[in-house]
Symmetry: C2
Subunit: 406 residues, 2 copies
């Protein structure tokens, strides 16, 4: 196998758990030891179209996942004593307290200064801990906050024993190298776990999550299909695709990847959206190969053009044939699947005809099969050249093939 | 404005063109000086559902874009003399020649060794240049190729005057820090332009493009809606959102961002897909704000929760009100839009009612408006408390409001 040869910054010694050549080599990396925070019911409810009834929440969704995981129930409240008390009364296992630290949020949202914020955070966290509950402290809009302010408050709450601190790219402005730098710095300042939350407005939510794990983050927030405020957050399926690529064995052992499609379908139905055509793993074209020049390699060894093995996700590969970019290797492969006795020259001749016809409209796999079977029959009758010549348009396939087979 | 305080590696002096605090500080960065290769008609045709007729290609699509750009026509062929000759005969402005250099492709696709590949590349490129055409040399599956092999062949083709070299993440396995390292190294080896092509199987196509530009890449391949082989490549709209966030002035000056939706609709129609619900910029929820605790800040200053200004993209912001996460600031804002004379206490009372009703089902904006107007009328009549009490279910709004206004 080729070595990539590209080393990330830091320690060059590969981690033991990292069996893939693309795995991270950072000393603090949690790429092979990450935890997922499932927040479809919290962030997801901020999706424009979400309206989770209690029945949907408890009955369908958690039910669907509980076969895989023993979920703890956390709730998400403002860093405010009144909110914290109300939340504790609901009987949750833990609280996430959150406050905005960017100048934007300090000016236009809550209007408080850093000294006040820090004092309040310590008071609220101490109270929650006194009740024996888990507590996470998170800032909002962390990537537009002053670095020294951020590190100061995280250090203060770490010192009083917060279980986890959270960084949030609330507006979706962060990019991966910026995330890496912030998390790496934070990792050197606090000893507790680090959770990261990334919005996807500028298309980096998955990559930012990955960079955060490389730098030492421990937990990543996801939601099914990425649903959340505006265009959402890191999608569960997309993150699993990324992590699988980094450490396939770890991800396959930890998660039942074949459930992704079912969980996505449940959530898509609940919030009345269609799974995007280009969705990670489960989009209808995720494992469809079309380019003719790729077909030979894909048929020889799918790893040539696939980083995700579809069967690991309960999906199947499809090599599309009936279009004008088709190649004779793909057609020959279909000949073999149909168990027809045709030579390479035959496959090339039929491929040329498919390309010609598909210039008018794409052919279905049925069209291609009829064409191949009838060509096979025509060849037995010694009239295969004539047969191909007679088919001038896609709509001739059925009638002329019927003739040939008669 | 808060300083982010996080510096990427390298030169800390911000580039003059970089006006945003999130812009890259890398010495080779082209974040404020990038070019887009529009490949919807090439990569896009490899999308499972794509079937571009000549009419669609020339008439609709290029037509739609030609108001913005003077496009050069390049074609994409295997690095092979026969292919190159055929392509030149079509009268194109330039050729992209491509060959696989990963061990996967060398073993399972073309079966050639690096010495042969290099010799052939030099021969083909020299021929194309002798015809006075532009030529780009690209490797396929670059991120699973041996680094020394890659650098050797790129150096050889740069030396004979290739116009541009291309890196391709053909299988979608690359991650941003790996991309940054490879492009930075390549930038130090060749003097020609560097084009990058990223598939999106593991959700990093936009972030990888950004990291490549930070490291000194000059051109990024995109397609409209990201359509391409499997789940596609870097989407044009998503990349523009990312680059806008890095250097708004540059992107706004160079591109007419208000055309994105129209171009996406044309392509979506041509390939018969629906624009994903969570699409960058144009997805129907991209600028919808729902969380109650965000509403006050969004109404005070949209930058608090928006990194993209919707008007720059010809879109509009929508603050959703009629759901159970609503906040009284959002309701108060609607009161002002309707020019009703209600106090903060009134707004809070109606908000409590909206939350109660929306626990049954979400209310439309019409429902909310009727509720507010009728409350206003009821208040004038001195019966507003009674009015709210009578409305126990969402379906009471219309009938009881009609009563109140009678």
């Amino acid at each position: 196998m080729a070595q990539n040869g590209l080393q990330a910054n830091g320690n060059n010694k590969p981690r033991e758990a990292a069996t893939s050549p693309y795995a991270s080599n950072d000393p603090n990396s949690n790429v092979s030891n990450f935890k997922i925070i499932e927040s479809t019911l919290r962030e997801g409810e901020q999706f424009a179209n979400a309206f989770f009834t209690t029945e949907k929440k408890v009955g369908k969704y958690i039910g669907g996942k509980s076969t895989e995981t023993n979920a703890k129930i956390l709730t998400h409240v403002r860093c405010h004593m009144d909110d914290a008390k109300l939340a504790i009364d609901t009987g949750v296992d833990g609280l996430d307290v959150v406050i905005g630290t960017s100048s934007f949020l300090r000016e236009f949202s809550h209007g408080k200064d850093m000294e006040y914020i820090t004092k309040q955070a310590i008071e609220v966290i101490t109270y929650i801990k006194s009740k024996g509950l888990e507590v996470r402290f998170s800032t909002e809009d962390s990537f537009r906050s002053d670095l020294v302010d951020l590190l100061s408050i995280y250090k203060a709450v770490d010192k009083i024993g917060v279980n986890r601190v959270g960084i949030a790219d609330t507006v979706g402005c962060a990019n991966p190298r910026q995330v890496y730098e912030l998390v790496k710095t934070l990792r050197s300042v606090v000893s507790c776990d680090i959770e990261c939350h990334f919005h996807n407005d500028t298309g980096c939510a998955i990559a930012n999550a990955y960079a955060a794990l490389e730098a030492g983050a421990t937990h990543i927030d996801t939601s099914v299909l990425g649903i959340g405020e505006r265009n959402g957050i890191t999608p569960l399926g997309g993150l699993l695709a990324r992590m699988y690529t980094a450490d396939k064995d770890h991800v396959k052992t930890k998660y039942d990847l074949t459930k992704i499609r079912e969980v996505e379908n449940i959530v898509a139905e609940a919030v009345e959206v269609t799974v995007p055509f280009n969705n990670y793993i489960t989009g209808y074209c995720a494992f469809t190969h079309k380019a003719g020049i790729h077909a030979k390699a894909i048929l020889n060894n799918p790893s040539t053009y696939e980083i995700l093995n579809p069967t690991d996700f309960g999906m199947t590969r499809y090599v599309s044939i009936g279009h004008r970019l088709t190649g004779w290797n793909a057609v020959k492969n279909r000949v073999e699947q149909l168990d027809l006795d045709l030579t390479d020259e035959d496959a090339k001749a039929v491929t040329a005809k498919i390309k010609e016809l598909a210039d008018v409209r794409p052919l279905s796999l049925d069209d291609v099969d009829v064409l191949l079977r009838s060509y096979h029959q025509a060849k037995a009758d010694g009239v295969h050249t004539k047969f191909l010549e007679k088919i001038e348009k896609p709509e001739h396939i059925t009638s002329i093939s019927a003739e040939a087979s008669a």
